[in-house]
């Protein structure tokens, strides 16, 4: 995982986990408080997972490890995640 892309590149994999397009959601970095869309975070991707880092302070916001049919998601680096334009009515 040496090449930095951006969160747009993670949309397909994250789409398998979330019921909405999480790349359009806005995170608040737990480390520095920066707020921006997941699509604008720095993405490091390989076959086993994704690391999304803050575009402001470079702290890890999201880590996803995929092994077979299991996904392990670490969101400790995100203080809050705000999704927009979604329907919450059940």
């Amino acid at each position: 995982m040496t090449t930095s892309l951006d969160g747009n590149a993670a949309a397909g994999t994250l789409g398998a986990l979330f019921a909405f397009d999480v790349t359009t959601a806005v995170t608040t970095c737990a480390t520095c408080g920066d707020t921006r869309a997941v699509a604008e975070l720095h993405a490091y991707m390989d076959a086993t997972g994704i690391v999304l880092r803050c575009a402001s302070c470079d702290a890890t916001q999201l880590r996803l490890v995929l092994t077979g049919d299991r996904a392990w998601l670490d969101l400790r680096g995100i203080q809050a995640l705000e999704a927009r334009g979604i329907t919450t009515a059940g």
């Binding site: 090449t3 359009t24 699509a39």
Partner: protein, 239 residues
């Protein structure tokens, strides 16, 4: 999201490195201009490799189009650009990504800036603009190393019109009679040909990471609001 089977209907060479694949994808649900797909190739021994490619065709087009640039030591792009032929099949899923998208109903001026094959999703936006009769004023700034590396050159020239402008800049080598721009996309060039910040355009920047960061910084330096600048970076991810 389901994996779909795409069948190659046509291959169109764009430059020495880039090929457009026109695909039949049954059950394609439609897409927005700027979205991408994930392509998955699986070898006979079960090994599979996956890459993301921007969609080159506008919403509502008859066939899905991907323009792929060959990365010589890549795992996916050499197959797509030199091996894949009419009738061949591979898997893809999409459309993906709701961030780097432009909808024709939005009348706000638009500035598109693409480096190399970063022009691919912007071509979908430009064609969407033309096909929809959008009244938004749109300007595409396209950067390539040489004239031969300019993807979609003739097509984009033909699409230019009263509400669609296209500027090409060549960064490495240009013919003596070249009447377009020369040099990198920087603040000076964007100040010349882009919308002024007071027009409050939506800006879409796509290309290699270094290109995207330099252009986004230049736009902010000129006074464009960071939240009106949307970016998409790509590769080199092994292609």
């Amino acid at each position: 999201m389901r994996w779909l089977v795409a069948t190659v209907a046509e291959t169109i060479p764009e430059t020495a490195q880039a090929v457009t694949l026109r695909l039949d994808v049954p059950d394609w649900p439609g897409h927005r201009a700027g979205q991408h797909v994930d392509v998955r190739l699986t070898a006979e021994d079960g090994y599979s490799a996956q890459r993301s490619y921007s969609i080159a065709s506008p919403p509502g087009s008859e066939r899905l189009e991907l323009t792929v640039e060959r990365i010589d030591d890549g795992e996916v792009s050499p197959y797509l650009t030199t091996v894949a032929d009419v009738g061949d099949q591979f898997e893809l899923r999409g459309p993906i990504g709701g961030w780097f998208v432009w909808d024709a109903v939005d009348p706000t001026p638009v500035l598109l800036v693409g480096g190399g094959s970063g022009v691919v999703p912007l071509r979908a936006m430009l064609r969407h603009h033309a096909a929809s009769g959008s009244t938004a004023a749109l300007h595409l700034v396209q950067s390539a190393r040489t004239l031969g590396d300019v993807i979609y050159r003739r097509e984009l020239e033909a699409l230019a019109g009263p509400r669609r402008a296209v500027t090409v800049t060549l960064t490495r080598e240009s013919p003596p009679d070249w009447t377009g721009r020369r040099g990198r996309v920087d603040a000076a060039l964007l100040a010349d040909v882009g919308w002024p910040p007071s027009a409050r355009p939506r800006c879409y920047v796509c290309g290699p990471t270094g290109f995207v960061e330099a252009v986004a910084d230049a736009l902010v330096q000129l006074g464009h609001e960071p939240q009106r600048i949307r970016t998409e970076r790509f590769g080199p991810t092994g292609g």
